[in-house]
């Protein structure tokens, strides 16, 4: 009975992501960049009972844009992993379930994947309120839970030993890494505009810290409540002598936000530094975004091709089905969430690596123990096909990866990388140690 159900879900799921993966797959055949993985194409086809990874995805709700691309990336990754022999020779299978970007449903999904689908591990959650609501349950159910959220919750130590974030750098590290550049190159007097929810707090807390160390001052904090559709009324709170407006927004209102900022300031000289989170899924060339021209934006992974010129990046881009300007190959109007979704790709490879290294067989306490302890001992993930975003330092006691960050400038409605941080720039003294927690 369960098999029937799974296969049905499989069919529908692939049907859902057919555009992305299917197309990418076809291209993979003859595109030159495929030669990298191409070599591995001879690898023996995976066999035996599949490794089943539960994928909690934001298909509906406010996180749907990310969810769509997380799913497309995941499908592409699974396809590639299976083409290359699967995990320890076993085929990799994804069991996806929507959580509506809702913390209550999220917990239900974790339980469903762990108890009903009996998957080996769970991964993929993005929105931090869902991650944080789910973590206790994952811990209680003692199932490894890999999040791709970039929130500073795993590394803060408030979650538990079963929760990992090995595929994407957390906000604290991002902010710490780029703050010096902002203060040096844009100005010392900063006003922060950020969401009064989600990772807004992480930005508020850690940019302030970092800036202060470098003689910068945060002149005003402007936290924006959810479901805001008009922002102009808040801009008058930005002090006149502010040199830099630091903006990070989420949700559908972001375009309005940027455009209204443009209307408000007009010719007034104020430097803008923004986070790509505001513009994930949004075309930089969209009408109304002209005001961003020349301003600077943080990226975790440059959206426009050519900025990171590696075979791994090209292979990743083409496998997932993203064109040179970061939009879907299938429909150029569908812009990807390029600075986040790579986390799914890399996390799946981390899981693969940890499982193979620890000799993971089945969802048993023993194998989980081995899996977790093995992963905690890993110290770096090297740049390459498995980690196209770049080399990561992994801090086992924090369950958190640290990678390089990019600062891009909007030039002719495109994002051009102007600066790349070193991994060390983002690393902060660890405050937590999960390895001491019992399993």
């Amino acid at each position: 009975m369960p098999d029937g159900k799974i296969s049905r879900r499989e069919v529908l799921k692939t049907a859902g992501a057919l555009v992305g993966a299917g197309l990418a797959g076809k291209l993979a055949g003859y595109l030159p960049t495929a030669s990298g993985p191409g070599a591995v194409a001879q690898a023996a086809a995976p066999s035996g009972t599949p490794v089943r990874i539960g994928f909690e995805v934001h298909r509906t709700g406010i996180g749907a844009v990310y969810g769509k691309w997380f799913e497309q990336t995941t499908t592409a990754t699974v396809k590639l992993i299976n083409e290359m022999g699967g995990i320890a020779g076993r085929p990799l299978e994804i069991v996806a379930e929507d959580d509506g970007t809702d913390p209550k449903r999220g917990v239900e999904v974790v339980e469903k994947l762990a108890l009903q689908e009996k998957v080996d591990v769970i991964f993929g959650t993005l929105f931090s309120n869902v991650v944080i609501a789910n973590a206790p349950r994952a811990g209680e159910l003692k199932i490894p839970y890999f999040v791709v959220s970039e929130g500073y919750h795993v590394a803060s130590g408030k979650l538990n030993r079963y929760v990992f974030q090995p595929g994407i750098t957390d906000v604290r590290a991002q902010v710490t890494a780029i703050a010096p550049w902002i203060i040096k190159n844009l100005g010392k007097k900063v006003t922060m505009v950020y969401p009064d929810y989600a990772f807004g707090y992480d930005h508020r807390d850690f940019f302030g810290q970092a800036a202060a160390k470098l003689g910068g001052t945060v002149q005003a904090l402007i936290p924006i409540p959810p479901t805001e559709t008009s922002f102009t009324k808040y801009f008058s709170r930005i002090p006149g002598d502010t040199e830099v407006v630091y903006h990070v927004m989420v949700g559908p209102g972001v375009l309005t936000f940027v455009r209204e900022m443009g209307e408000y300031f007009g010719s007034r000289k104020v430097k803008l530094f923004g986070f790509i989170d505001s513009l994930e899924g949004v075309d930089i060339a969209s009408p109304g975004l002209e005001f961003l021209e020349g301003s600077y934006i943080w990226e975790a992974f440059p959206r426009y091709a050519g900025n990171v010129n590696t075979m791994a990046e090209r292979n990743y881009r083409q496998r997932v089905g993203v064109d040179a300007s970061g939009a879907s190959v299938a429909d150029p109007k569908d812009v990807s969430t390029y600075s986040h979704m790579f986390g799914c790709w890399e996390t799946l490879y981390v899981i693969k690596q940890a499982m193979e290294k620890s000799g993971y067989k089945s969802p048993t306490p023993g194998d989980y123990k081995a899996l977790i302890e093995t992963l905690e001992k890993i110290q770096r993930f090297d740049e390459g096909m498995e980690h196209p975003q770049g080399t990561k330092r992994f801090v086992g006691r924090l369950h958190q990866s640290f990678g390089r960050q990019f600062i891009s400038q909007v030039q002719n409605k495109k994002l051009k990388v102007v600066y790349m941080t070193k991994i060390e720039d983002g690393m902060y003294p660890p405050e937590a140690d999960y390895t001491t927690q019992p399993l």
Partner: protein
């Protein structure tokens, strides 16, 4: 109302509780967890039903009472290290106090004005939990794991991580609220509430101070909602603003209406039905919300007064 009806009614309700008690030994671990959550949320709906079903006041702000219980319990456990029982009582108290205070203001309005005023105050509550995010953790929320002591019954220690504890705490809370609502329908006070629902002017002219009765209903409703929120926090060791958002004011309304408002069993039926419709369909198709929507429309076309309401109208007129 009258003796010979009382017995089967009581029997039925006790049977429902016993059924839930027995289910835990037969269902799969996943269903076990689902039922625990459904019971807690059904308790929330039961509380909502006291106000909508038995007093005729439609609120769109009950998330604030649920969240009041959740935060009162969660924050005291997190910061003060209160035990689960104390935390629970504080949560209950918060629901009661907030609903009493709200009642003095919002009960000056009726009908849709009541709907909107409750909605707006709930919005104020929600934004407040965000505004004080340095304490509440905002929408990211707080995790109670590590702060929450196990439940102590005499000698035995019952950790909330234990599924059996989750289930039976949920059952205890639900059973309490469920039987409370049954008792209310049978009590003279409850009949006055129904009278207010049916014809407030007439009730006043029979010499009842309808305001105090409505306040009573709101406080019972808010108290039960607070209990539910408190229980949710204890069971899932999480506190977060999402549970104060408008969605969590719409849910109990929806669950109650689907199950049948003004019926004691309706809220449970509605909550279980909606939870399972979502859970099952979401496993089958990415577009499951379409199915959920269709189900809602069809149900309401077949049972305009909710499922149990329809059953009562057609077959079992004696259902309370």
């Amino acid at each position: 109302m009258t003796g010979q009806r009382g017995r089967p009614v009581l029997a039925l309700h006790v049977a429902v509780v016993l059924l839930l008690l027995g289910l835990q030994f037969v269902v799969s671990p996943f269903q076990h967890g689902m039922l625990a959550r459904i019971m807690v949320l059904a308790a929330f709906a039961v509380g909502y039903n006291v106000l909508l079903g038995y007093t005729g006041l439609m609120s769109l702000g009950h998330a604030m009472f649920f969240a009041a219980g959740m935060y009162a319990t969660g924050l005291t456990v997190f910061y003060v290290g209160a035990g689960p029982v104390d935390g629970f009582l504080i949560g209950l108290g918060a629901g009661v106090v907030l609903s009493a205070a709200m009642g003095l203001i919002v009960l000056r309005t009726t009908g849709v004005s009541f709907l909107i005023v409750t909605m707006m105050f709930a919005q104020v509550f929600y934004l407040t939990t965000l505004y004080f995010n340095r304490i509440t953790g905002g929408d990211q929320g707080l995790i109670l794991t590590g702060h929450l002591h196990p439940l102590r019954l005499g000698a035995l220690q019952l950790p909330f991580a234990d599924p059996a504890v989750k289930y039976n705490v949920a059952l205890a809370v639900f059973g309490l609220c469920f039987l409370l609502s049954l008792w209310l329908t049978a009590s003279p006070a409850g009949r006055v509430l129904v009278a207010v629902r049916e014809n407030e002017d007439r009730t006043t002219m029979l010499g009842f101070n309808t305001f105090t009765y409505k306040l009573l209903a709101l406080v019972i409703s808010g108290g039960i909602s607070g209990m539910a929120g408190s229980a949710y926090t204890l069971l899932f060791s999480y506190v977060g603003s999402s549970f104060a958002s408008i969605l969590y004011s719409i849910y109990p309304l929806l669950w109650t209406l689907v199950g049948g408002s003004g019926t004691t069993i309706g809220p449970l039926v509605g909550t279980a039905l909606m939870t399972y419709v979502v859970d099952i369909t979401s496993g089958v198709t990415p577009g499951y919300l379409i199915v959920v929507g269709v189900v809602l429309v069809v149900i309401i076309l077949k049972f305009p007064s909710g499922i149990v309401g329809g059953i009562r109208a057609r077959w079992l007129p004696w259902l309370p």
